[in-house]
Subunit: 377 residues, 2 copies
């Protein structure tokens, strides 16, 4: 998507690879929304650290980063000993695979690269196959998101108000994003609409990342407190809800996503507002039998008890934020503890449809269409 | 309620009057939860400024402050000319009456004081009647909250998890509060229970004021992001919801309260969790015919785009917060605007009962019981 740098809009992917310097180039997401900066990792260890340190986050984005990181590691090998090369690749794979232990995307992405490499005979062949496979993974991620956008854009009509939550945007994938893909596609078709971004406490990804993305693409939007969506729906100010997901159960249609998703789904159902979830096929879990069994991460209470930002005043325009003034403030009563569940599970009955690269499906019909949706067994 | 000062729990009202120094004594609420400080206003102009500057906030608390301020102004008069005294009282009344233009409580409270003063003949008589009437207003406020507590405590059973939103606590009244009154009363009866405080973005009154109150009274509690209540209800971790209100429509049972109240009521109804609203009788509006006509204040977007707190780290204990480090941080994307509706309206069908000093009523039966509830016409 486009980012305006020095007054000029330029296209950027979240993750790319620079062959000349053998480096993975990443948007430094921890500086957003206050600074846009591209960093390059010099070797696979730095790439792994970029995943661990959340320079890059989001399913598709960390998948592509790990795939490129594996190619980067392969290309850095000097020598002709195939045995030593194999040992080296094993270390690279392990380093990148343990960078974000709970995520499955880096492992799946690297599997695709390893499979391609196995077809080469010489080290040079394996190296070039690795890079080609990593590029292919990234391009496929972009393609899947574009297909989600193509299907999802049909839901968007001129003049609509659309609510989204958290960030399932291009920053979480290589480009375009999932929940945002229909927005960008509809914009490309000349449709005009307006987006409400849920702030998404406690980590505020809606107010920071999604709002920044939409501002860069010049899509009209307002940030709202998570408390405000119900009131806006009641007053007829929301026509459509689109969110992403961390895991969709193929057998039940249940959707695990950022805390607060379930609340918005309940509100949307009450007001008969269509509620869609946009995902790549890799997000579907065909094994788990009930949503209640999805482990819900209880995160650090410091996230709920305070907030990160730039020290400022409520009225200042902040056109040139002073980044040295980046700080955490403790908002809450110092003597009070917090509970901080990071995700929730929304039942299928509250979801109008699941937008996938293969089309839009009713959540309860995923299982029926499992062959079309890539379930191999 | 009790506040622990230098290791010892002492009782404090939000608003009191000191006859010796002719000053209104107030908890400096803008410093909470990080510092507990009592300030004294030296004259009625300072008292009015304390209302304007939000040193004191909340319906009952600003009512009592205005009543005491009027007595303070009367007592400060030196001389024997009854005409000059009347002119002086007019100035005092106008100064306090315009301190918070949208609030009705200071006007009603001062009306009670003026009525009492009219029964005195000399200036000295009028002065002492003013003080007595102000004290009576404050005591009545305490009494009404105590009655709410007595009725509401019946709803609380041992081991319950109770959700509340924003601050309808003793800091918003002279003592005890409305939504918190049943909690304090149940605690007094030896019941043990646990409270979830909604953070209540954007102004975070739940995380700051309610959590501070509950910590002072040693009631076990956790702060949660506003996004988390739905998940906790789904997992059976909430047994009862009690909130306050800014305005309850006597004709329809609709409830206007802090933004997010409606969302919690929708969630509670879905999970069949009792949802109660606790109010003094003065909160009932017998005139308005539909909730849609309640004006919803759109507040400054800076509240949504950032947060106030003490500069710190997410892990620090903050037992001795550095108050010079109090700051506003801009969290959101600098180029994005926000919408900030301050209140919402909950329909009667979602409310289990209205807890009043006169007992608990179904919201749709308020009109039927209007005589008992103080509707004079």
């Amino acid at each position: 998507m486009n980012v305006t740098v020095r007054g000029r809009a330029q296209p950027f992917r979240t993750v790319t690879f620079d062959v000349k310097t053998n480096s993975v180039r990443l948007i430094e997401q921890r500086l957003l929304p206050h600074e846009f900066k591209i960093i390059g990792t010099r070797d696979f260890r730095e790439t792994a650290r970029a995943i661990t340190d959340m320079i890059v986050r989001g399913a598709g984005a960390i998948g592509a980063t790990a795939a490129y990181g594996l190619a980067q590691g392969a290309l850095a090998f000097r020598g002709t000993d195939l045995g030593k090369f194999r040992n080296h690749i094993e270390i690279v794979h392990k380093t990148l695979g343990t960078a974000r232990p709970t995520a499955v995307d880096p492992l799946n992405a690297m599997q695709q690269v390893l499979r391609a490499m196995s077809k080469g005979e010489t080290i040079a062949e394996k190296q070039s196959l690795a890079l080609a496979a990593a590029e292919e993974f990234a391009n496929e991620d972009v393609q899947h998101c574009a297909e989600i956008g193509w299907h999802g854009a049909k839901l968007i009509r001129h003049g609509m108000n659309i609510l989204t939550h958290c960030n399932a945007g291009w920053l979480a994938f290589v480009d375009i994003g999932t929940a945002t893909a229909p927005l960008y596609a509809a914009q490309g078709q000349g449709k005009r609409f307006h987006v409400f971004c849920d702030e998404t406490r406690p980590r505020s990804q809606g107010a920071t990342l999604t709002a920044w993305e939409l501002a860069q693409q010049k899509i009209p939007h307002h940030i709202i407190a998570d408390n405000a969506a119900g009131h806006l729906m009641q007053r007829g100010e929301v026509d459509l809800v689109i969110m992403g997901s961390d895991r969709v159960l193929g057998r039940t249609g249940e959707v695990a996503n950022k805390i607060g998703t379930y609340t918005k789904a309940v509100l949307a159902a009450r007001h008969k507002i269509p509620f869609y979830v946009a995902i790549p096929l890799s997000t579907i879990d065909w094994n788990l039998k009930r949503g209640f069994d999805i482990p819900i991460e209880e995160r650090h209470e410091g996230e709920v008890l305070g907030a990160w930002g730039i020290v400022s005043t409520p009225n200042s325009e902040l056109r040139t934020p002073n980044l040295t003034q980046r700080a955490y403030v403790r908002v809450a009563n110092p003597a009070s503890p917090a509970r901080n569940p990071g995700f929730d599970v929304t039942p299928a009955e509250l979801i109008t449809g699941i937008i996938t690269p293969a089309g839009i499906f009713q959540p309860k019909e995923l299982w029926k269409h499992r062959r079309k949706l890539g379930f191999a067994h």
